[in-house]
């Protein structure tokens, strides 16, 4: 820096030192803090989110959200796939077969034992 430039710098220092101080109005502080409150309120979780978080803590305490959500999603997918792939007739036939055999078992159980008294004697 040359001597001339140094003089320019000193002049700038003195010139800017003559400028009056800028006071901070309390209304401006209040406006800025009101903005903060607004942003903080927007960032806070809503009712639905709070309910979801409570459910998550009950199901899987201190787990990240994606864990219970992915297990729930996987169980849904498995359920839907099973419903779509397994034919409804299989369920119907299984159900009727099992009902008939159990009826027969009960019928057999309820009938009085057939005893050939003559043969035994």
């Amino acid at each position: 820096m040359t001597e001339d430039q140094k003089q320019d710098a000193r002049f700038a220092d003195r010139a800017l030192a003559s400028l009056p101080a800028t006071a901070v109005p309390s209304a401006l502080e209040a406006r800025i803090l009101a903005d903060f409150d607004h942003v903080a309120a927007r960032r806070a979780p809503g009712t639905l989110s709070r309910i979801f978080n409570r459910w998550r803590d009950a199901v899987w305490p201190s787990a990240p959200v994606w864990k219970p959500a992915s297990v729930l999603a996987a169980s849904l997918v498995i359920g839907v796939m099973a419903g779509a792939l397994v034919p409804a007739s299989d369920f119907a036939s299984n159900a009727s077969t099992s009902t008939t055999s159990s009826d027969q078992q009960y019928a057999a159980g309820d009938a009085p034992p057939v005893v050939n008294m003559a043969g035994d004697l």
Binding site: A12, V24, I32, D35, V39
Partner: protein, 190 residues
């Protein structure tokens, strides 16, 4: 040399903890950050824009950006104060560009008309002349002068705020100081 200075500044950034707390919604931390930086930001914006009302709006917008982005702040990338002053400076540039182009003479007249002529003290008159001379500087030169001579920041930090190299900042400073001195040459001892 520059990297070393920056590294040291980043390591001892006094605002990091407060910014993290603000990101979590801590109001007391927000108040502390505001108390620390608001006066300097308002001074800078006031001198850049030569309007108290616009400077207040500008600073409010800068803080709104801070409140919104504090949760994503990553310490170590930049010094917080540098980022905040850069945001403030960009807000000032935006407002200056939205203004109708008055030309240099008109700008000087606007600045001259600010105080009531009858009640101006000598020192206030000097301040008005200095303010008018500042407003006549190109905005980059004015920003450089204000950051280094008014906010008393170092060249490295000022260059970071303006997004230029230290050499480019020194060039802006040299031209700005020279113009300021020639415009105010009638004031022997401002």
């Amino acid at each position: 040399m520059r990297a070393t200075g920056l590294d040291a500044a980043l390591k001892f950034d006094p605002d990091t903890e407060l910014v993290a707390r603000v990101g979590k919604g801590d109001r007391a931390a927000a108040q502390a950050l505001m108390a620390r930086h608001l006066p300097g930001m308002l001074r800078l914006a006031r001198r850049m824009l030569s309007s108290q009302a616009e400077a207040e709006d500008c600073v409010q917008d800068a803080f709104l950006k801070l409140w919104t982005h504090a949760g994503h702040w990553k310490p170590g990338q930049a010094k917080f104060q540098t980022w905040l002053y850069r945001v403030t400076m960009n807000q000032c540039y935006d407002r200056l560009r939205k203004r109708p182009n008055l030309g240099l003479d008109a700008a000087a007249e606007v600045a001259d008309l600010a105080p009531a002529a009858d009640t101006v003290l000598v020192s206030a008159g000097v301040a008005v002349e200095v303010e008018a001379a500042l407003q006549n500087l190109p905005e980059r030169q004015r920003a450089a002068i204000l950051l280094c001579h008014y906010q008393e920041l170092g060249n490295v930090e000022a260059s970071e705020i303006l997004g230029v190299s230290v050499e480019a900042l020194e060039s802006l400073l040299a031209r700005g100081r020279r113009t300021l001195r020639s415009k105010l040459s009638h004031l022997r001892n401002p």
